[in-house]
Symmetry: C2
Subunit: 519 residues, 2 copies
Amino acid sequence: MSRTRRRALGGRVCGKGHTDKEAAFLAAAWERVQALWAECSDIQRAAAVLEWDQLVNMPAGGAEARGTQLATLRRLAHARLTSGAMAEALADAASDAAADPAWLRAAHRLHDREATVPAELVEERSRAGTAGYMAWAEARAQRSFAVFAPALQRVLDLTRRYADAVGWTGQRYDALLSGHEPGIDAARVRAIFAELTATIVPLVAAIAERPPLSRQPFLQALPRDGQLAAGIDAIAAFGYDFARGRQDFSIHPFSTSFGPGDCRITTRVQDDDFAVGFFATLHEAGHALYEQGLPAAASRGALGEACSTGVHESQSRLWENAVGRSLAFWEWFMPRLRGHLPGRFDAYGAADLYRAANVVRPSAIRVEADEVTYNLHVALRFDLEQRLLSGDLPVADLPAAWNAGMEHLLGVRPVDDLEGVLQDVHWSDGGLGYFPSYTLGNVLSAQWMEQAAAELGDLPGMIRRGGFGPLLGFLHTRIHQRGAGPTPDELAAEVTGRPIDTAPYLRYLREKYGALYGL
Amino acid sequence: MSRTRRRALGGRVCGKGHTDKEAAFLAAAWERVQALWAECSDIQRAAAVLEWDQLVNMPAGGAEARGTQLATLRRLAHARLTSGAMAEALADAASDAAADPAWLRAAHRLHDREATVPAELVEERSRAGTAGYMAWAEARAQRSFAVFAPALQRVLDLTRRYADAVGWTGQRYDALLSGHEPGIDAARVRAIFAELTATIVPLVAAIAERPPLSRQPFLQALPRDGQLAAGIDAIAAFGYDFARGRQDFSIHPFSTSFGPGDCRITTRVQDDDFAVGFFATLHEAGHALYEQGLPAAASRGALGEACSTGVHESQSRLWENAVGRSLAFWEWFMPRLRGHLPGRFDAYGAADLYRAANVVRPSAIRVEADEVTYNLHVALRFDLEQRLLSGDLPVADLPAAWNAGMEHLLGVRPVDDLEGVLQDVHWSDGGLGYFPSYTLGNVLSAQWMEQAAAELGDLPGMIRRGGFGPLLGFLHTRIHQRGAGPTPDELAAEVTGRPIDTAPYLRYLREKYGALYGL
């Protein structure tokens, strides 16, 4: 555009070489991209309300219409996120001084990966995912992987196409991983697992040589109301704000958020095992504390989201494990637990419950695994996912590879496919690339705890007095309020001075379980 | 288009003068308009889920974000309903043999009125409505209409503009009324009220001369669980399907629907007055039975909605009043009520509860009014609404006009504005034109009941035996399944051979209350 033309537009040249009118247009682009983004955010959060209701309240008759309503909302959100208007507004805003570069970076991260995927593929994956889920459920009922295999093959083919549409440089797996963990590739995750297994496999073997700990204190028939009250008491003390959330029941506990003012959790109660519901409550509350802590002013924008799936998991693991399975926690909670469930824990002390909460025993089922063996389950899935995606492992050979891996890593052989390769829902709808986030969450939780202890002082002492405020405050300021600004590595470096690092987590495991098992 | 040109398109001339390709295009338009409509329906039903959650579950902290999410969904739905694509698809589908003319007529009814209203006016009305609601709530707290007057003036100005944008021929009120009652204008409603008041005013006066009936049986401290169980028992017997619905609590009972497979109701329980919660449950279940009965196959289309607000109200009134306040109902329900609330009703017989459910006494508050005086409350509001809209009645003079009308129609003078002009929420957000539907519902409920009795035989005998199936079947086939096909008058004519007619309702009131009060 010539200088004359610029003048013809009626503006004088101002800073950064833009005329007033151009600057006004660019500023409008920054407003525009935020408005467009906010609209997508509203639609996605509306969908989250529908999903919550589906899992918590919906009568059976509502299923079909709800599926359609959710599909419509998701299609609208995807169409608006990847629209020409959004791409143009993002591009225009980049030239505007008023725009927040961190905001634009976070927005591009999500936009660019979605924009390269054809709408037909999104639709095909969604349909194949529904069919995959149904085939998986049927295969579980029949305890036979063969029933699931054709649907998994179809899901896998579409997942490959999706990954290739997103794009990757190192290996195809990277395209899936980056949707959960920006800036982290499969090579990095492999290195992390190598460090972890080198310590954990011998640790598990050493523990197996020692006398077992007992879960007995948890294994009693306890009234549901008392179990619930205990969980609510603990998470309220952690700082979960019930004026900005609520707890309901669902078959599989989960957390969801419709904005920092409404972050909900669900739990379940098992009549004969207190640990099942109680630790589910602590875990989901950890997720919800993160969501309640996200920057409220940014809540409809690109920065108002969690940093990554792994960072999210680091919050749930921190409250569930690093806090909830610590001796200090049980020293604080023991008298309160006795208050909620009178007469049921008189025979036990805090140390008994601490030990009961930390029994290490290799098992076939991931979701029943303890802190130590859990990551070996994830390592197996990560390995199999890479080989499935690359094509090295044909779908038909998956059960044998699963069982061999279990034997190798954990010394456990599943009795059948239900106890083996059919146990997780993730692959049925194409959710490959998700598992590593569980382990990254474990690793990060230890990094946060070491740093919090370094800055706050005697954390166990605070926990023993029920003083969770300083810890939550640390997480709030340093992690929650940063939203989706940094990548996980950047966040770890900001908070702890180092990117994601396995050393604190391995120290935590060695020290805690060394003491518990007298190694 | 010339014949040659038609051939150039490659098609042969087929029926209705269209080439194959043109016919394919038009058929595609019929598919297209249905797909576009279904998408709007999905968005509106998603919004209904968010509203239900807001009133039943949402923690206080969620209010602001939820308001924004709802506004976004409503804006999207309005934009898509009034889009160029929709207008074009509607127009194209009109020429297609595959299209259902009844569907298109129902679609045009909604589309045409929304399409003429500028989006800015929709937005302005929404904002003024929110401000109006807040001013109304504050005015109630201060018991002073003056606090509400400026906001009401603003709402009224915008409602006038809205009515003029929609368009009218007789009087401005017609534009508002037609949004609730297609095909019915204000002149018609005036005639209906003239017929009603001519009978009801002297009936109320005659009842006032007779010894009063007693509400005593309901006025006891009763456990909430038993009260709830009684309501659930009654509506399950009516045919409310809990596999396609659920009941929760809310401050003001309401019903909502996310499709015929998920039609929910709420209720409340008053510890010292059984009637409050019980009749609210029957009333809302009446609404939900209608929604559960709408044609499921048409549920995302223009015919899958209720016929009108008044027809909807006819269903709730029918089950609450014509059934639930009948002697036959209490003869059936008395032993069941004793089962739900043991020992509490031993001193009473069915006739005592029948009388307690039908006490007639002029009162200042509409929602506490009995069946007979209720319509006089509505007549007053209808009269005031017309005068406000035409400009004959300045906002400042509204309280005096209200009080004079109450004195004239009911012989009751409100003690203050809270008991008077501030009692209803409707006007605060511009909901003028809604009130007549309450009375049309009463009138229609009696038309349906007379016809059902004529076709089914001894209705009281069936009710006395708890046999609600034939009555629900009649309503299902003749009313619910007709969806939004006919107008209210057409539906009344289809079902009863006459358009909306006050005679059955006036017969019902004279006979029932003549007997109850020995007139």
